[in-house]
Amino acid sequence: MIEKRTAAVVLRARPYGESDKIVTLLTRDWGKVTGIAKGAKRSQRRFVNVLDSFTHVQLYFRPSRGDDLAFIFRCDLIRNFRAPGQDLRRYAFASYITELIDVMIAGREAGTEAYTLLLAGLTTLEEQSVLSTIFLPAFTLLLLSSTGYQPNVTECQHCGVFIGANKGASVFSPSRGGLLCPRCHDHGGMTIHLSDDTVQALTASRTTPPEDFLRIATSLRTARETRAVVTSLLSRHLTRPLKSQAFLEQLEAFSDSHVDGPQGE
């Protein structure tokens, strides 16, 4: 098969043997790719400073057949995100969204949506001087949506009635994956009460470009409620907690700024 070229973000790279590295990237055109970069550990000529996690690169590779590793010829730097190496909280956030992408995206079937989202996430971490309290919940929500687990906030998940106009009485049912109208509150098992602002934010996530949605200013309450929603949805799709979650929590323990991770608290 001939050499392919696509833009990609490095999710992680591990040393392999004496001189190689195994690299996992999320590509724009080929979904998630795991490949071997020969000589990346020893001679760094073709791979200098491009295989660090979170790096945006132009990837030249030969796709694998079946479960084999792809072969990585070369990576050219597009953008080196500095924030994760300069700010611990942003490092924790970048690790979290990268791991989330890694576990939620299986392989080649991923569209460009997840790639665009990851790039928007890293760009926001790089450029926004004060992160929105909703950053992580918002990222998680958008990823859930792009992988088909979007919460339904337009109609009651029990009786089907249109909910849009119903103010002040919305509850979210994780087991039903959406809202329940006031008459059906008892039909969703454990539920989460949502303020109108939060319902609005959840609705806005469908039409707002990711880079804007990740930066929206919300009340702390909306950030918390959104976090509760995505945490409950996520726990239905993850078989184990994310590894980077523990680091986020540890950071929170000695940090004066509060970290709003999904699943936190």
Binding site: N80, A92, F247, Q250
Partner: protein, 198 residues
Amino acid sequence: MQLTPALARLVEALGKLPGIGEKTAFRLALFILGAEREYVENLAEAIWAVKAETTHCQQCFGLAEGDLCPVCRDPKRSEESLCVVEEPADLLAVERARDYHGRYHVLQGVLAPLDGIGPDQLKIAPLMERLRQGKIREVIIATNPTVEGEATALYLAKIIKPLGIRVSRIAHGIPMGGDVEYIDSVTLSRAIEGRREM
């Protein structure tokens, strides 16, 4: 090529060494075969001993035989300066440079949330214990200039500075003998960022 079983076994074992191909392994094996018995016994014994007798220093977690490594045992080394590295190999590299006369602390890794490696998985608690004893005045953080190494350095600075100890980070940039024209852009922008006044 038909080798005797013992020779084939040696060629195969040597061939697993880094940088040794089949041809070189064969040459080395033949050399060993033709060498003095005393040399060969010494070589075999040295290989065995390095594995059997090397442990981790109980103070700095570098390589040691017994409780303490040569640096920790050396009374001439300054007790005021501590160089923090990722792995024992990094300690040895700094030692080879011969310009550092303080002590070390080996973290045995870096913060890597994606691999589930947090502060508790590294030798950070023993580091803080050493610092609280009060002799150390400066900590030099010599983790690698990767994103994980940088984040680890940030983390250490954050928890060490409140103790009133000076924390510095090794400089990174253009290698000696390097050529600005051919340096990659990431390294170059770091080098400019880390410039110093003359």
